[in-house]
């Protein structure tokens, strides 16, 4: 049998349903809609109760001998580089002004080092991160060697903003309990609070 690593196919041939199955139900043993590989040249098939349907031609192939179930993974591109980290900081963006960012840096490679401040051009931020760059956002600044598969070595500095979660209702509900406790300590009684609303 062919191993999953040997499978090559055009992802465009796979319907949305089967793609989501492959991602959502990977490893699950379900009776219906299981992905199969047909005989060479490895066209994709979806099994129904008594037959399989080619996902390429859409034709039912009732007499096809079904092979053992295998997991199909989209082929990952082989690594094209390796990154050797030399220095990393955690940064907090303080201000964006005149196409320049000002940030405070804390040395992650040598935490005993004092706080530093940096100014850099907004152009250094990737298009996928630019919307995250607001005052108060947290990022990592990494300097290192980018070793390409062809043997080339590049020295780079890269910025990656943290994808922080969003505030949810459950966060706020948890905070409300804490707020009640603090209001008690601050002597903000219910009477005072109700007066404040006016």
């Amino acid at each position: 049998m062919y191993s999953p690593e040997e499978v090559r196919f055009d992802p465009g041939q796979v319907s949305e349903e089967t793609q989501s199955q492959r991602q959502g139900e990977r490893g699950k043993d379900t009776d219906r809609n299981v992905l199969w590989l047909g005989p060479p040249p490895f066209t994709l098939h979806k099994r129904t109760e008594s037959s399989s349907i080619s996902l390429v031609t859409g034709q039912r192939e009732p007499d096809m001998e079904l092979p053992n179930r295998i997991v199909v993974r989209l082929p990952f591109p082989p690594p094209t580089h390796r990154f050797k980290l030399l220095q990393q900081w955690e940064g907090e963006l303080i201000e964006i002004k005149n196409e320049e960012c000002t940030a405070i840096l804390r040395d992650m490679s040598h935490p005993e080092n004092p706080i530093e401040e940096i100014t850099f051009s907004v152009a250094e931020i990737s298009s996928s991160d630019i919307s995250l760059a607001v005052p108060g956002s947290i990022f990592y600044l990494s300097i290192g060697y980018y070793d390409r598969i062809d043997g080339q070595r590049l020295r780079t500095a890269s910025i990656r903003f943290r994808r922080l979660p969003a505030w949810t209702m459950s966060d706020f509900k948890r905070a409300e309990e804490e707020a009640e406790k603090i209001k008690g300590i601050f002597g903000l009684t219910k009477e005072i609070r109700s007066v404040e609303r006016y």
């Binding site: 030399l86 220095q87 955690e90 907090e92 303080i94 201000e95 002004k97 320049e100 000002t102 405070i104 804390r106 040395d107 080092n113 004092p114 706080i115 530093e116 401040e117 940096i118 100014t119 850099f120 051009s121 250094e124 995250l132 607001v134 005052p135 108060g136 956002s137 947290i138 300097i143 060697y145 020295r155 780079t156 500095a157 922080l164 979660p165 969003a166 505030w167 949810t168 209702m169 966060d171 706020f172 948890r174 905070a175 409300e176 804490e178 707020a179 406790k181 603090i182 209001k183 008690g184 300590i185 601050f186 002597g187 903000l188 609070r193 404040e196």
Partner: protein, 360 residues
């Protein structure tokens, strides 16, 4: 101990003032960490002097909640068991409570002034539990309020701010910082300007008065900031011989009338620098303003930040190519100490400095 001492600390970001009011009565205003030990400088200094912080520190005041004034404050509060805790009355509102409680509930972010304030509240809660009665801050600071008084020794401490107008305004300012549903959990940003900051006036005798300017700034309205203090007719009388220059000496905090009406013609002025941001404070222009009023001006640290960190040459080279500017903002902890033999003897004043503090 009859001598009076006021020690100002400031490593570049952060400041703290430790004062001996006489007769083993100590007072701490704000808190910052010693960069080399990461310990609150006030506790470190007082322990070195052999002061029993649990019994002899009588007053601990937080002028406002920004990182540079509050780092390590919860540890100070825990150690100074008998100290009265004072903070701005502007913080006693639903908006600030909501802000603290929301940011306290997320534990993944790097710390901020709000986090430290949440720890302070934890300490106040512990005090309440041990005494079986709710104890919030012992005093909420307001304009022209006497917060400490020792009649036998003639020691009085007043807060000169926040004004009523600043108080009202601060509620809406806090509301703007409260995170909204579905917004990203970024770090809370500091609230500027600092109209709700607590400015302190210490009265140690007929001729010895001290003004600690916090980060209070000047506002176009008379009812805010330094103009509110200047126009107040209920503030304590007299002229201060020692001044902690407000807001790191910035021009935003300079009001000529304060220097002419509230401060002695030949004062000792101490600046704590602020090396963060586009324009580190004080600037040369700021210094010009201050020097025209005080020939004895000191700064607790370097105005340009700390020493350059030497790194691998590849890192240095890349950083140089990448950054438009890069510098170390916190340096060594500097100290300026002003001492008087006693409150009646102002001529025997001495000023000692510890590197990198310097006279300007």
């Amino acid at each position: 101990m009859k001598d009076i001492e006021i020690s100002f600390f400031g490593p570049g970001i952060g400041e703290c003032i430790v004062s001996h009011l006489g007769n083993n009565q100590w007072m701490i205003v704000d808190s910052c960490l010693d960069p080399s030990t990461r310990a609150p400088i006030a506790l470190q200094y007082l322990n070195q002097k052999g002061v029993n912080v649990a019994t002899d520190v009588k007053l601990f005041l937080i002028s406002h909640w920004h990182d540079d004034h509050i780092s390590g404050a919860s540890e100070v509060l825990r150690a100074c068991k008998s100290a009265k805790f004072v903070c701005s009355a502007a913080l006693r509102c639903n908006e600030f409570v909501t802000l603290v409680s929301r940011y306290q509930s997320r534990s993944m972010m790097i710390s901020s002034g709000v986090d430290e304030f949440a720890k302070i509240i934890g300490e106040l809660e512990s005090r309440s539990k041990s005494k079986k009665v709710i104890i919030g801050p012992d005093t909420w600071a307001l304009a022209d309020k006497r917060i400490f008084f020792l009649p036998n020794h003639g020691i009085e401490v007043f807060t000169l701010s926040p004004s009523d107008a600043a108080l009202t305004h601060s509620f809406s300012s806090f509301a703007k910082l409260i995170p909204t549903l579905k917004s990203t959990k970024n770090r809370v940003i500091d609230l500027y300007p600092n109209h709700a900051a607590v400015c302190v006036w210490i009265n140690l005798g007929k001729d010895l008065k001290i003004l600690l300017g916090a980060d209070l700034e000047v506002h176009r309205e008379d009812s805010f900031g330094w103009k509110a203090i200047f126009t107040s007719n209920t503030r304590p009388a007299g002229k201060a011989l020692v001044i902690k220059v407000p807001h790191h000496g910035s021009s935003n905090s300079y009001l000529k009338e304060i220097w002419t009406e509230l401060i002695d013609p030949d004062p000792i002025a101490v600046i704590t620098p602020f090396t963060k941001g586009e324009k580190p404070l004080p600037t040369d222009l700021d210094l010009k303003n201050i020097r025209q009023h005080s020939k004895r001006t000191y700064c607790t640290g370097s105005r340009t930040g700390g020493k350059h960190i030497k790194r691998d040459s590849s890192v240095e080279k890349t950083l140089k190519e990448f950054a438009k500017s890069h510098r170390v903002v916190t340096g060594k902890m500097g100290r300026v100490t002003v001492t008087f033999p006693d409150s009646a003897n102002i001529t025997g004043v001495q000023v000692s400095i510890q590197d990198p503090a310097h006279r300007l």
